[in-house]
């Protein structure tokens, strides 16, 4: 069966870029509103899901449509980006607060822990950011994967499930290994 990864639209500027990156990697993909019920996604037999970034400050305290239902019941891998990542942290008992240093544009990322999502990505690389809020407390059931000088929790994963959260944006052109990270996520969805 082919790869089918949908993008849940939380209102980010780069939602369509996520769709495009997946399509460029030959994935069957579609942008769906975040109000889509999980049963519609499972009916389409998707193999993975991306939770997009959001409109300003939405990650801070917004319910983010049906994202909770996906995290609670999904059996496929999920990649949360920016607001999607922040929501994932809140859902699992972590904390999200306004950033002391909001990051925009070019930032140096340091990978702290080996993980299939970062296979082939060097320990130091350039990523592109755009956020006012960030995860300040990692949920207990998550592992901390990457950081930057100005934002501690840049990447995390669930200890049991293939659920990932990224504060930076792998979907934009200027993130050095962005497409590579997407390719790794697709490989994770294949397993």
């Amino acid at each position: 069966m082919g790869m089918k990864i949908y993008v849940v639209d939380n209102g980010g500027q780069w939602t369509h870029r996520e769709w495009r990156t997946l399509r460029d990697l030959e994935v069957d993909t579609k942008i769906v509103p975040n109000t889509t019920p999980l049963k519609d996604l499972t009916k389409d037999q998707i193999t993975g899901l991306v939770l997009s970034g959001g409109a300003p400050r939405i990650g801070l305290d917004n319910p983010l449509g049906n994202c909770a239902e996906y995290l609670e019941k999904a059996t496929f891998p999920i990649l949360g980006i920016c607001a999607g990542h922040q929501f994932m942290a809140r859902f699992y008992g972590g904390e999200v607060k306004p950033s002391i240093v909001p990051e925009f544009g070019k930032i140096d990322l340091t990978i702290l822990k080996k993980d299939p999502l970062f296979t082939g990505v060097p320990p130091q690389s350039i990523v592109w950011e755009s956020h006012n809020d960030e995860v300040t407390l990692l949920p207990k059931c998550f592992t901390h994967l990457a950081e930057s000088d100005t934002c501690k929790i840049q990447a995390m994963r669930h200890k049991q499930k293939p659920f990932y959260g990224l504060q930076f944006h792998p979907e934009v052109e200027h993130t050095q290994f962005g497409e590579h990270i997407f390719r790794n996520f697709i490989t994770i969805c294949e397993d």
């Binding site: 500027q13 369509h16 959001g54 300003p56 544009g105 070019k106």
Partner: protein, 315 residues
């Protein structure tokens, strides 16, 4: 990967089923509208009327060049010189969002006028993905209202056709190359034109200054690229900052505007990094602008902002 040939075949077939009768295309002469016109022309031929509007905010000799190209493409051309109308409408308008909306609205009025005269029901626009993404709506925040999206009136008399909606600029360029369209490699130029390269009121006097400055930036950068001094930027231009500073011109006090040099690398305009322009190129641009403009401009600055946090254009 994006397949241009497949896109062309499917789009032409789709346009044939969607358009019954005459259609008007808003033709600025950039890559998007030119590609769009070529596609629709293949679908409906002479039923397509291509309208180019000179807003008064075009670059040096641009409208002349565009109309010539339209004729070479075998299009059914209409040319409207609306510069006075635009200068008047934008008199004293400072807010960038207001500028964009007034310009967008004016475009539609002009197109509706032509459509009424010639009994046209469809309006074709070269809208691409960043235009509607950045214009916002529903969940999405408005970063800037693109004239072809945020400038549309609530009630439209024409049916809108936008065949390039899901494409980014690099994909439009692929289609342009496949269609052999002459402007495939042209740098992007915003619909509101020089009006949004002037911070504050876009008067005719300031427009003439920024037009000349844009021309110098373009010429010098293209020259440097030809000589292998730098990589070809995605977009490169001048911005007029209406702040006057003191200078000295031939033992005489000068008090003129500031011009910023903006040049960025990108593939899709959704993120951008400022270009690394060599110092001697900056030097040539600076000397040429200040020497050409006399007392009107006496300070040049270089914009070193990425997107985000900035955007490519300043407004």
């Amino acid at each position: 990967m994006f397949n241009a040939d497949k896109f062309i075949t499917e789009t032409i077939a789709d346009l044939k089923t969607k358009i019954h009768g005459k259609a008007l295309i808003a033709f600025s002469g950039g890559v998007d509208s030119t590609v769009c016109a070529a596609l629709v022309n293949k679908a409906i031929g002479k039923d397509l009327i291509a309208v180019h509007v000179d807003t008064g905010y075009m670059r040096k000799d641009e409208s002349k060049f565009v109309v010539k190209m339209m004729k070479q493409m075998g299009l059914n051309v209409r040319f409207v010189d609306a510069s006075d109308e635009y200068y008047q409408a934008l008199e004293n308008v400072v807010d960038p969002e207001k500028k964009r909306k007034i310009i967008g609205n004016k475009f539609i009025h002009i197109f509706e006028r032509v459509a009424k005269e010639e009994h046209i029901q469809y309006l074709v626009q070269g809208t691409i993905a960043p235009d509607w993404i950045e214009s916002g709506g529903q969940l999405r925040d408005t970063i800037k209202s693109h004239h072809n999206v945020g400038g549309l009136p609530k009630k439209m008399h024409l049916t809108l056709i936008e065949p390039l909606r899901d494409l980014y600029k690099d994909e439009v360029r692929k289609v342009a190359r496949a269609l052999n369209v002459p402007v495939a490699e042209r740098q992007p130029f915003p619909g509101p034109g020089l009006a949004i390269r002037i911070i504050g009121a876009a008067t005719k006097e300031r427009t003439d200054i920024v037009r000349e400055a844009c021309d110098i930036v373009e010429t010098e950068i293209e020259h440097a690229v030809d000589k292998g001094q730098m990589e070809m930027p995605w977009q490169y231009f001048a911005v007029l900052i209406p702040i006057k500073t003191v200078g000295v011109h031939g033992d005489k006090r000068a008090y003129g505007y500031t011009i910023a040099i903006r040049s960025v690398q990108s593939i899709d305009a959704m993120t951008a990094a400022y270009s690394d322009i060599p110092h001697d190129v900056l030097d040539r641009i600076s000397i040429k602008i200040t020497n050409t403009m006399g007392a009107k401009v006496n300070r040049i600055v270089y914009d070193v902002t990425n997107k985000p946090p900035g955007t490519v254009e300043w407004e």
